[in-house]
């Protein structure tokens, strides 16, 4: 479905990813874990096209997208959320969500400028669909017309999830969707992610530090350290893998020193 082959990405002397190979299977939730700076966000960046790897390839449904522009990848059905929320702060929740469906829509310059006709029909159809599949689904009804800048952090993260979902993505990349959330909010998001998987059979990649959530919902776990894959398998396999324990303890020991 989605695979990365021997991808390397470095910034100056820092090797964010070195010859990383991995694959996400259709309809599965694949969690990517690893200590801070392991290269998880970098992996998302080369999949969504934010950065191009210096070596290696990225494949989506057997198509080589290594050099495709980010907007082309979105059109193929790859959506993501950001570790640091990247919403359009001046816009309302609804406007943000509508933007998520940009590449599915058709109205061009003249349709939009004339508005009455194609563009209006499309807007109304879109609105109905988003209300049902995104806004109701993620329980955002009460805030749809508020500006995102006024929302608390947890809700902003949820709006970002909604915006990604508005693409009706085939692959959904979630970068720390529950970071900074309390227990209850985390459980809500975990439930939403499982629902998305079940309802649309979406392939989901999840970067998350919340281990109990990762272990609860993922089908496959990949562990990165220093830009390399050090382990992979079911949550249970990974939990008991000595290399993983070492990587985590290693960093926390360093952190304590």
């Amino acid at each position: 479905m989605l695979s990365v082959q021997e991808a390397s990405l470095s910034f100056g002397g820092i090797h964010a990813l070195s010859e990383l190979t991995f694959e996400a299977k259709q309809g599965e939730i694949t969690a990517i874990i690893g200590p801070n700076g392991a290269g998880k966000t970098s992996l998302f960046n080369i999949i969504s096209g934010f950065y191009k790897p210096q070596a290696g390839r990225v494949f989506f449904q057997d198509q080589d997208i290594t050099h495709a522009r980010p907007d082309k990848r979105a059109a193929l059905g790859i959506a993501r959320t950001f570790q640091n929320i990247a919403l359009f702060r001046g816009m309302t929740v609804l406007e943000n969500i509508k933007l998520g469906s940009h590449s599915r829509l058709k109205s061009g310059l003249f349709d939009s400028g004339i508005y009455y006709g194609a563009a209006r029909r499309e807007e109304i159809a879109l609105r109905n669909e988003l209300e049902r599949d995104v806004i109701d689904f993620l329980e955002l009804d009460h805030i749809r017309n508020l500006h995102v800048a006024t929302l608390p952090y947890g809700l902003q993260k949820r709006v970002e999830l909604a915006r990604a979902l508005a693409l009706q993505p085939k692959v959904l990349l979630l970068d720390e969707p529950v970071a900074g959330m309390n227990r209850e909010e985390t459980e809500d998001i975990a439930r939403f992610i499982l629902d998305i998987q079940e309802r649309w059979n979406t392939t989901i990649l999840l970067v998350e530090h919340d281990m109990s959530m990762v272990m609860d919902i993922s089908d496959q776990v990949i562990v990165l350290n220093f830009g390399k894959q050090i382990a992979s398998g079911t949550p249970k396999d990974v939990q008991n893998n000595p290399a993983v324990i070492e990587a985590y303890l290693g960093t926390s020991a360093k952190g304590a020193a």
Binding site: S48, G49, F50, R69, P70, D71, K72, A74, A75, A79, R80, F82, A86, L87, F88, R89, G90, M91, E95, K98, L99, G100, H102, S103, L105, K106, S107, G108, L109, D111, S112, G113, I114, Y115, A119, R120, E122, E123, I124, R127, N128, E131, R163, L167
Partner: protein, 350 residues
């Protein structure tokens, strides 16, 4: 307590004139525009025509600067391209239908907008402003060339044609008003509509955060350039109407000075707001006229006293703009917003 707007379906919610007051305001404005040519004198119609033409250009600039967040100091050049395309076309086809001229001018200006918009794919902000600055010099350079003089009139300027509308030559300001203002209204509504659906939303997204926009599937290449093309085409259209409206044009009419005036109109009115260009243009074009009248009044018609007043007028105008930016940094529309907020809540609260 403020009672929210009540709507029964999402289609209504998508509506632009979602309060009765706005609907009424639009109708009143249209009636007023219809009345002006019958009650205004020739001087007032001159001002009205000039304002309508400028509004078209500023509306175009607003698409680029206000909504897409890309800077330009070169839009006077596209205005010039429209005006000179019109003059040149009429040398070959003296009775060309004005709307055809208009469209050709828009295409020509749009094409140059595309070329001068290319730097926007690499640079932003001040750098882009400097890159677009070159449009003024390059375009005027060619207009002034001797080998193009037979088309452009070169340095000395050139007389402009009048528009022929189904056999009638549009000569008086009143006749021209009926050509210019409907075009201005249609172009204004077109630009305003853009921001009700997919296309305009993409432009605003680019303004707010271009990286996120691209990740969501918005092609920066495509939309930034289209925004340049649209705004240049609007200025081209304004140029055509300008050529029809005034008896002659000079290269100096358009250069950097005009580019800056267009920007000032936009900033004074409110960037990224649909009514901004209208308010801003009226303010910036009317105030110097009012100051002129004021000066005339205070000098009691004395010519030599008026000469002393003229620099004072410029200073007062400059101070006004500065004061305006300090007290209404979001432009005149913010006063308008406060007015409507008051009206909307009127029986309930202040």
């Amino acid at each position: 307590m403020i009672i929210g707007e009540y709507k029964t379906d999402y289609g209504q919610d998508e509506g632009i004139w979602n309060t009765w007051a706005k609907k009424l305001g639009f109708v009143v404005a249209l009636l007023l525009l219809l009345l002006i040519p019958f009650i205004g004198n020739d001087y007032q119609l001159l001002m009205a025509g000039q304002i309508a033409i400028f509004v078209i250009a500023v509306v175009g600039l607003n698409v680029l600067v206000g909504y897409t967040g890309l800077m330009s100091l070169g839009h006077g050049a596209f205005f010039a391209l429209g005006a000179y395309t019109t003059v040149a076309l009429h040398q070959f086809f003296p009775h060309l239908f004005p709307l055809i001229t208009l469209i050709i001018s828009m295409v020509v200006a749009g094409f140059f907008g595309f070329l001068f918009g290319l730097p926007s794919l690499r640079v932003k902000g001040l750098y882009l402003a400097v890159a677009t600055l070159s449009a003024n010099f390059i375009v005027l350079f060619f207009i002034r060339q001797d080998w193009l003089e037979h088309l452009t009139g070169g340095r000395g300027g050139i007389e402009t044609p009048n528009a022929y509308f189904f056999g009638t030559e549009l000569i008086t300001n009143q006749q021209k008003y009926f050509l210019i203002v409907p075009i201005a209204i249609v172009m204004f509504l077109f630009a305003q509509n853009l921001f009700r659906s997919r296309f305009g939303r993409a432009l605003i997204a680019i303004r707010d955060n271009d990286h996120s926009a691209e990740i969501l599937g918005i092609s920066l290449f495509n939309y930034k350039l289209k925004s340049f093309v649209i705004s240049a085409a609007y200025c081209g259209a304004a140029g055509t109407l300008w050529a029809y409206f005034f008896p002659a044009i000079l290269p100096e009419d358009f250069g950097l000075n005009m580019s800056i005036t267009l920007l000032i109109c936009l900033v004074a009115g409110g960037m990224g707001r649909s009514l901004g260009p209208i308010f801003g243009t009226i303010l910036i074009l009317m105030v110097p006229e009012l100051l002129k009248m004021g000066a005339f009044y205070f000098s009691e018609g004395n010519a030599s006293a008026q000469i002393y007043f003229s620099p004072i007028r410029d200073i007062v105008f400059g101070l006004m703009i500065i004061g305006f930016l300090i007290f209404e940094p979001m432009g005149l529309v913010s006063i308008w917003d406060r007015f409507w907020r008051f009206i909307n809540r009127w029986p309930f609260a202040k």
